[in-house]
């Protein structure tokens, strides 16, 4: 897990050797010179100690799991086609924000993320015929991934069950009583994640009296590819005409009734939910990291011959906090 390489062990030995030599030189030097040499020595020695500590974590620190909390935002493009109200494809720009929690153990990963976004769209009709709409959406994923055997090296592979929730609300004022359409999808499926961890020494500087001490840790730049696929789930669409039965009840109650009336259980092939992500995690201070991801989500569903297709692609950037001080698991 966090075993020092031969090169790192040699570096540690060299640093300790250098600090011992410097300590001997202090004898006989003038006071200011001795202070200067002492400062250098302390800095180097502290560096060496911290490096050694980071490379040889106590046993309790090697066990357990890493906990990460992630927050970020994203910008991107989105497109949808809602056949109930238009045969045209609406495209637009979108922004989203979200967060994630991940517990990475030696053999498994528990991961939860949730993103909400909004965007403005146009149906790209010619000239003044163009229509505009706004949309809001939420998507969340919960997964339990098992570490699968891989040849020793920098690659790791995880796979396991996941659940996905996605819902989008579209508003098109020009469509009167059918101006609000929605999708709802709650699925069980699979997630796979393949990750490449590139070792990287990360350092940070701390103050100790008047000295600045640099500590160095072995961390990993991680490149990953993750795919979520829905296999079975509940899907809901607007009514056949896009208009809730507002004749008999309050509009909100009518909309909820329609939502329930149009709820269907569907398996892979009848619907498609795919969330694809490429990501980079770059280590920063204190075990935290910068996370950059390219996320693409696609959803398709057809009920009563009224298909819907949604595509949301986002470039995400977030800050990932480490909630523990254990050795980093990769």
């Amino acid at each position: 897990m966090n075993q020092p390489t031969r090169k790192e062990k040699m570096a540690t030995k060299r640093l300790f050797g250098a600090s011992r030599t410097i300590a001997m030189l202090i004898i006989g030097a003038s006071r200011p010179t001795a202070m200067l040499i002492m400062g250098v020595w302390l800095s180097i020695n502290a560096h060496a100690q911290s490096l050694e500590i980071s490379l040889n974590k106590p046993e309790w620190q090697k066990k357990g799991a890493n906990h990460h909390l992630n927050g970020g935002w994203g910008l991107g493009v989105a497109a949808y086609r809602e056949r109930i109200t238009s045969p045209r494809i609406y495209r637009g720009l979108q922004a989203e924000m979200g967060g994630a929690y991940e517990r990475q153990g030696q053999k498994s990963i528990v991961s939860y993320d949730s993103w909400m976004g909004m965007g403005g769209f146009t149906d790209e009709a010619e000239g003044w015929n163009a229509n505009f709409s706004g949309a809001f959406w939420v998507r969340s994923h919960l997964a339990y991934l098992f570490r699968l055997p891989m040849p020793e090296g920098r690659w790791s592979l995880h796979a396991g069950p996941s659940s996905q929730f996605y819902s989008m609300l579209r508003l098109q004022p020009a469509h009167g009583n059918a101006s609000a359409t929605h999708d709802f999808s709650l699925n069980g499926g699979l997630r796979t994640r393949i990750e490449y961890a590139l070792p990287s020494r990360s350092g940070e500087t701390k103050r100790w009296f008047i000295f600045r001490i640099r500590e160095s840790y072995l961390r990993y730049i991680r490149l990953g590819w993750e795919v979520d696929l829905g296999l079975l789930g509940l899907q809901s669409r607007p009514a056949y005409t896009g208009v809730p039965n507002v004749g008999g009840e309050d509009a909100v109650v009518g909309a909820l009734n329609e939502w329930v009336d149009n709820l269907r259980l569907a398996g892979l092939g009848q619907f498609t939910y795919l969330n694809n992500q490429f990501y980079l995690r770059y280590p920063l201070r204190n075990g935290n990291s910068l996370r950059i991801g390219l996320n693409s989500m696609g959803y398709r569903w057809s009920h009563r011959d009224q298909p819907v297709a949604v595509w949301i692609q986002t470039l995400q950037m977030g800050y990932q906090f480490r909630l523990d001080n254990r050795a980093e698991i990769r």
């Binding site: 493009v77 989105a78 497109a79 949808y80 086609r81 109930i84 109200t85 238009s86 045969p87 045209r88 494809i89 495209r91 149906d123 790209e124 009709a125 010619e126 003044w128 015929n129 163009a130 229509n131 040849p151 090296g153 690659w155 020009a174 469509h175 009167g176 009583n177 059918a178 101006s179 490449y196 590819w225 009514a239 056949y240 005409t241 896009g242 208009v243 039965n245 507002v246 004749g247 008999g248 009840e249 509009a251 009336d261 694809n276 490429f278 390219l294 693409s296 696609g298 398709r300 009563r304 011959d305 297709a309 949604v310 595509w311 692609q313």
Partner: protein, 352 residues
């Protein structure tokens, strides 16, 4: 592994570049006149809720208008063909909207007398006693002293405008001091259904079944949702309701949500409908776009009577809600300064 990753990277490179939305949602549809016509015709065939009720042969309509569509026709020519096709539905809720104009089925109200002289009402009734006249939100109201009886006169001409609850309270508080109320919704072309419900609910202390409603749920002629009973439910606080005798004045221009108001009021025993049959428009319309971006709407719902007719069937209100007492505006009386419909309503109230 490196080789595998190289291939996977190549495979998913388009994802990184974006633009793969076309793979997922497809291409924009053809937007030529033929595609626009076919889409509109197909949508009406599959979703319009009154084809059977109006005994419309939609295939015949296709045969009539399809030959008029030709490549290269300009937007105005296309609009006129589609407008004529939509008007075959004879439905005020069947409209085609373009940036330069919209279509409407006008014979619906042009075939009957206007039955309204707004200036006459303002001058001879509302301003008869200017101190008694108020305009509270979208509602004009006054109290007429007629043969020692206090008659409240309310006019609500646009259900797209919503009064606040406090405004409705104020109006109803005044009406509560009256021996009878004339509620004038002539030429109210509709708007928010909730306003019809809120207003009718101010005239009852108990819920009463008004009508049934259902929506189209599939392409088949009989594909409708289950019947939903619709009730006239009390609204507002009881001390702000009026349950005395009421006459609802309506004309052919009382359309859509106003026809629903007529249905709600008709369910109340102390209410009489007077005037002309309403314009109908009791099929809730949906809206959508055509391949060229134009928008349209047509009815996708139906309102059916709460009672059964002699054949044991519900009857359909699409052609309007008839009055209990049919009265047209008498032009002779109008020239003498009298609105014969309001006068007839007052007589009705005084006789109760």
């Amino acid at each position: 592994m490196k080789r595998i990753m190289r291939y996977l990277t190549l495979l998913f490179w388009p994802l990184l570049l974006g633009g793969c939305d076309q793979l997922w949602v497809g291409e924009q549809p053809a937007d030529d006149p033929r595609a626009v016509f076919e889409t509109l015709w197909t949508e009406i065939e599959g979703k319009y809720s009154y084809l059977d009720y109006k005994n419309l042969d939609w295939n015949r309509v296709y045969q009539t208008y399809s030959p008029m569509i030709r490549p290269g026709m300009n937007e105005m020519e296309l609009f006129r063909v589609l407008e004529a096709m939509m008007n075959e539905l004879q439905d005020g809720h069947a409209n085609l909207f373009t940036p330069f104009t919209y279509s409407a089925y006008r014979p619906l109200f042009l075939s009957r007398p206007t039955n309204l002289d707004a200036r006459l009402i303002l001058e001879r009734y509302f301003l008869r006693d200017s101190l008694a006249f108020f305009t509270t939100g979208p509602i004009q109201h006054t109290i007429l002293d007629t043969l020692g009886k206090r008659i409240g006169l309310m006019a609500y001409r646009d259900f797209t405008q919503s009064p606040s609850e406090a405004q409705l309270d104020f109006v109803m508080d005044r009406m509560r001091t009256c021996d009878g109320v004339v509620l004038d919704v002539r030429a109210n072309g509709g708007g928010l259904l909730t306003n019809a419900r809120r207003l009718s609910g101010r005239f009852t202390n108990e819920g009463r079944k008004s009508h049934y409603h259902r929506m189209k749920t599939g392409r088949g002629a009989g594909d409708f949702s289950r019947l939903e009973a619709v009730f006239t439910e009390p609204s507002g606080e009881e001390e702000h309701r009026y349950t005395g005798p009421v006459v609802l004045l309506q004309n052919r221009g009382s359309y859509s949500a106003t026809s629903f108001l007529a249905l709600h009021m008709r369910a109340l025993p102390q209410v009489r409908l007077l005037g002309d049959t309403t314009g109908g428009g009791l099929g809730i319309p949906h809206g959508a776009s055509l391949p060229n971006g134009w928008n349209y709407r047509f009815s996708v719902g139906q309102a059916l009577s709460a009672e059964l007719d002699s054949n044991g069937a519900y009857w359909n209100w699409e052609n309007g809600v008839p009055p209990h007492t049919a009265v047209d505006l008498d032009p002779v009386q109008a020239s003498q300064g009298f609105d014969s419909m309001i006068e007839r309503a007052i007589v009705d109230l005084l006789s109760r």
